[in-house]
């Protein structure tokens, strides 16, 4: 009560004086109780006068009583010294009194940064929210107050119609329960919601928008061609057009944040086979002013911890990408989790981005289909003998490939769907059926590797497979080329060592590849206009390697068809046109090429927190109910998704399930049941947004630039800001005194007027 009174009284305790209002009423009542008795003769006149004047008398008495009470009230208020805030004064002067206060609180995971005193930046921010609410309540309690979290911009955490004491308590309760989310702050979304909220209320009230954030540079910096930071673009119009819309940026960032973060963990091959080393790449960012030495990371497959990974040094501000090889011993749903360990992890102030996971659907083997264009009983004459030996060597060493060798004639009726990659070795031409099967195989993500050879019918290839750029072949074929007689054979001369296929051949190993002797190759012509009107298709064919012939002809051409990758190798798979198979590089290159081209699993292995989890879900194969377990299962219950309600066609052919509320980082498990009743489980890792890990604040100057022409208040110290607001109090005891005097004089005048008619 006192707290509420202190919002407009200097001496709230003296407000008890308003009880003096009861004074005149008491006197009135008491005077009615204390009366004289007179035995009166002329009662008739008295009764008549009473009958005629009763109402007027009562009215006069009431008026006088009210005036006396009013005078007492005014005097009591005057003693309590009431005051007005700047906002209230403005409202008295005719502007709209109520302000809609909208607080946008950044609850991204970067706000969980622990300060040296044990507090988190988020706690600072919530304290700022409370302070803003308090000072707003003190200034004008009728204001509405809406608290919006950036993680859930469409559902305000708190929407208070006024800032009464009870509502303020509600707000406090609501804030108490909030912890930073595991999401990145998507400010454009959040400010869009704020703008919608303001527009939907459609009132002419003033609007005060407060943005409480650590103002990371990644969120707030603006590029030269944007008028304002994209974070605020949805609000820019509102703020520039309306003078009644005020923006206050409350910066709770710290000056020199230190954060080590695992910013990426990615599998480098589409398919992972059990028992075969799979390559992953992880990225560690050092967002701090000091270098980090001997950083230790721990990897774990499910519960099995692997030997630690050591990164020797990460310079300040640098991100180091580190390839690692992990061998999953069993097939099926697997998971890999990497996290910082050791001293660096324990001293890191932001814990969430110290670990990343990835789900892995490990296959027993990668199924490869080899279409042999020149089968032969003699292994040395057979086109694919060397190739299949390379892909599946004899002995105990596992290559991870399971091969099916066939010929062009045997393709009819073959079920392509179980293969991940198909290799056409020196195939003269394809029948109509096999060609269509090949195309749909590639379109659905299957990989194609096409080797040239002496049997290849260039005209057929150009007509049917290139098909004016619409076919699977990225290039048109020309004549085969050989070095002139007596000349040195050609060599591979120039290749993209960054590409996964050729990655191994850099440094000393480059000489190995360079030693391959090419006796003949098919010359190719790249299409003149590679990207015509199709915008969805990736840019035209990519030449991964060239020969050292005078034209620098392409040796390996990579392109895509549908979702599948197409590799065209312009020389033969066997040793007819080269001696590649005798070279040390042949086996790894073929393995890498086959692994690279193989079809990616449909299901995602990792997504960023907050982005929708889209999971392929073929109704012909699975029962309609899917079960989703969050990383906190069994604390949080399983989520049941029913196909009917959540069927989202991600493509015309593949129905999928979608789940949007991926707010929790970690491994999610999706369990589908096949129509025959077998459960199929897979893991999807939900990882924090790496952009959020870069804590560097945009800073005041940076904001100045980012905001462009927008006017705003920048606040570092909320307490001082509120103190400024409090200083705007205006006392008005003197008008009250004046009013009291006027009321008393009116009372006297009226009393005299009412009594004047006594004299006859």
């Amino acid at each position: 009560m006192l707290g509420w009174l202190s919002t407009f009284l200097m001496n709230p305790a003296l407000a008890a004086g308003t009880a003096a209002v009861a004074g005149p009423i008491l006197i009135h009542i008491l005077s009615k109780r204390r009366f004289r008795r007179v035995q009166w003769a002329a009662m008739d006149f008295l009764l008549e006068a009473h009958r005629h004047n009763r109402r007027r008398v009562r009215m006069e008495q009431l008026i006088l009583l009210v005036l006396r009470c009013l005078a007492m009230l005014l005097l009591a208020l005057m003693i309590a010294r009431p005051f007005l805030r700047a906002g209230t004064v403005g409202s008295l002067l005719g502007s709209v009194g109520r302000t809609e206060r909208i607080v946008l609180l950044d609850d991204s995971f970067s706000m969980g940064y622990r300060l040296s005193d044990g507090q988190s930046v988020f706690q600072r921010a919530t304290a700022a929210v409370k302070q803003i609410a308090q000072s707003a309540a003190a200034e004008s309690p009728a204001d509405t107050f809406t608290l919006i979290l950036t993680s859930r911009p469409r559902q305000p955490l708190c929407a208070l119609p006024s800032l009464s004491e009870e509502n303020a308590r509600k707000l406090d309760d609501a804030i108490e329960g909030v912890v930073p989310s595991q999401l990145a702050a998507r400010f454009p979304d959040a400010t869009q919601s704020v703008a919608q909220l303001i527009r939907s209320t459609a009132s002419q009230a003033n609007t005060a928008i407060y943005v409480i954030s650590d103002f990371q540079r990644t969120d707030w910096a603006r590029t030269a061609n944007e008028p304002t930071s994209p974070a605020l673009t949805p609000l820019a119009d509102l703020i520039t057009q309306s003078k009644s819309c005020r923006l206050t940026l409350v910066d709770v960032s710290i000056d020199s944040p230190k954060n080590l973060a695992l910013t990426d963990l990615v599998a480098l091959q589409p398919q992972i086979a059990a028992g075969v080393p799979a390559r992953f790449e992880l990225a560690v960012a050092n967002h701090s002013p000091a270098a980090v030495e001997q950083l230790e990371l721990t990897a774990a497959i499910a519960d099995q911890t692997l030997p630690p990974i050591i990164i020797p040094r990460i310079a300040p501000g640098q991100t180091v990408r580190e390839p690692i090889e992990i061998t999953f011993p069993t097939d099926g749903a697997n998971q890999l989790r990497i996290q910082l360990s050791g001293a660096a992890a324990s001293s890191d102030a932001l814990a969430l981005d110290n670990a990343r996971s990835i789900g892995a659907q490990v296959v027993p083997a990668i199924h490869a289909l080899i279409i042999n264009g020149e089968p032969g009983a003699d292994p040395l004459r057979d086109e694919t003998y060397l190739l299949r030996t390379a892909l599946r060597p004899a002995g105990r060493a596992a290559s991870g490939f399971d091969l099916t060798i066939t010929t062009e004639q045997e393709l009819d009726g073959l079920d392509w769907s179980r293969f991940q990659v198909a290799i056409l070795a020196n195939v003269a031409r394809l029948g109509v059926g096999p060609r269509q099967s090949t195309e749909s195989f590639a379109r659905n993500g299957g990989g194609l590797i096409i080797f040239a050879g002496d049997q290849v019918d260039a005209d057929y290839y150009n007509r049917e497979l290139f098909a004016e750029g619409q076919g699977i072949l990225p290039v048109t074929l020309g004549a085969s080329a050989s070095p002139a007689a007596g000349q040195e054979p050609f060599h591979l001369a120039d290749w993209d060592a960054n590409h996964p296929i050729l990655r191994a051949f850099s440094g000393p190993l480059a000489t190995v590849l360079r030693q391959v002797r090419i006796l003949e190759f098919t010359s190719v012509r790249l299409p003149a206009i590679t990207t015509t009107q199709s915008t969805s298709a990736p840019a035209g064919p990519q030449i991964l390697a060239r020969y050292d012939d005078p034209d620098h002809s392409p040796a390996i051409v990579l392109s895509s068809f549908g979702r599948g990758a197409v590799l065209f190798i312009t020389t033969s798979a066997d040793q007819e046109w080269n001696d590649w198979a005798s070279n040390f590089s042949y086996v790894p290159l073929m393995l890498e090429a086959a692994a690279f081209a193989s079809r990616s699993p449909d299901a995602p292995s990792r997504i960023t927190a907050g982005s929708p989890l889209v999971f392929p879900f073929d109704p012909a194969e699975y029962k309609p109910t899917a079960r989703l377990r969050t990383p906190t299962y069994p604390v949080d219950p399983e989520i049941s998704l029913v196909r009917e309600s959540l069927l989202v066609p991600s493509s015309p052919t593949t129905p999928s399930l979608q789940y949007d509320d991926t707010t929790r980082c970690g491994l999610w498990s999706v369990e589908l049941t096949t129509t025959s009743g077998d459960p199929r489980r897979s893991f999807v890792a939900v990882n924090p947004d790496p952009r959020e890990s870069d804590l560097a604040p945009v800073g005041r100057a940076g904001l100045e630039t980012a905001m462009g022409d927008l006017t705003y208040d920048y606040v570092r110290d909320v307490a001082a800001f509120n103190a400024d607001a409090l200083a705007a109090r205006q006392e008005f005891w003197w008008p009250l005194l004046l009013a009291a005097v006027v009321v008393l004089m009116t009372e006297q005048a009226l009393a005299w007027h009412f009594g004047r008619r006594v004299v006859t």
């Binding site: 009366f35 007179v38 009166w40 006149f45 006594v758």
Partner: protein, 307 residues
């Protein structure tokens, strides 16, 4: 009654002693006027001479004494007048006002009325006129036939002393009864606060006039009743109707009360004028002699007008 009220107050009588001549004059004038009436020939027997004072009828100057002594003397006669007067005093409960103790030094209306009645009786008997008394409230409570000797005054005073102020004022029937009790034509002086139903009152007064009596109405009210000077919250309790109570702020009702009283008085006066009844307003604060003087002066004017 431990100390019976003395309605013949010496101070009042002393003050009115000089009225004697005027009273006599008025009465005589009245009587002269009556000469033209069928009543004729009243006995005249010389009594004494009295020195002339201005205002005496010059016709009564004794010219022979003037011739002898150069002094003016008036001849006075033992008169045997046919004047009969009835003093009718209201003894209803309302005449008790002011009944409360703090007004003990003031006369109640009845005390004032009784004093006035006694004084009149004294005056009239002093000039050998016959005076009768009637006390009434809702009916006639006491009646003394008119006589003219001095001892008669005492019986009248005793009768006034024994009055009990208990009953309300009566209406039309009462006045009819009063009129029936007045056999001969006479002067009828009614002293009352007249707090009764106005219509019945007017009708009753007019019926009194039918007997050809000379009616004088002395409307006696307490000063409080005329000015209503009360300030504080007051519970007014009816003197005549005990169940009538009214708790009010008197200041707020003063105007209305006075207006109601004025309306009443105006109508009463109009009715009296219409019925040729003398109407005299009196307050208990008016000195008795002034009251008498006012009446007598009015009376003499009336007599002159008739003459």
């Amino acid at each position: 009654m431990a100390s019976p009220p003395n309605y013949l107050r010496p101070d009042v009588l002393a003050r009115i002693s000089d009225l004697e001549l005027r009273a006599r004059y008025a009465v005589e004038g009245f009587i002269s006027g009556m000469h033209r009436s069928p009543y004729s020939g009243y006995s005249v027997e010389f009594a004494q001479h009295r020195e002339y004072v201005p205002g005496d009828d010059l016709r009564r100057l004794d010219w022979r004494v003037y011739g002898k002594t150069d002094r003016f003397y008036i001849k006075q006669y033992e008169e045997e007048t046919n004047l009969q007067a009835h003093v009718i005093v209201d003894c209803s409960a309302s005449m008790r006002y002011p009944a409360h103790t703090d007004r003990s030094d003031r006369l109640t209306k009845f005390e004032y009325a009784a004093t006035l009645a006694a004084s009149m009786t004294y005056l009239l008997t002093h000039q050998q006129d016959a005076v009768g008394l009637m006390l009434f409230d809702d009916r006639i409570r006491a009646s003394i036939a008119p006589q003219s000797h001095h001892a008669h005054l005492l019986s009248i005073i005793r009768q006034l002393e024994q009055a009990r102020l208990e009953h309300p004022t009566g209406g039309k029937a009462l006045f009819a009864e009063l009129a029936r009790n007045l056999r001969r034509r006479s002067i009828v002086v009614i002293i009352s606060d007249l707090l009764a139903d106005l219509d019945e009152l007017v009708a009753g007064l007019q019926s009194m006039r039918h007997g050809n009596h000379e009616v004088v109405v002395m409307h006696l009210l307490d000063a409080d009743e005329r000015t209503f000077p009360f300030q504080d919250h007051t519970l007014f309790e009816g003197l005549e109707a005990v169940d009538q109570n009214l708790l009010i702020d008197p200041q707020s009702l003063r105007q209305g009360y006075i207006a109601a009283l004025d309306a009443f008085t105006t109508r009463l006066r109009g009715a009296c004028a219409g019925a040729k009844i003398d109407f005299v307003e009196l307050s208990t604060t008016d000195p008795l002699d002034i009251a008498l003087r006012r009446y007598l002066t009015a009376r003499s004017h009336w007599v002159k007008a008739r003459a």
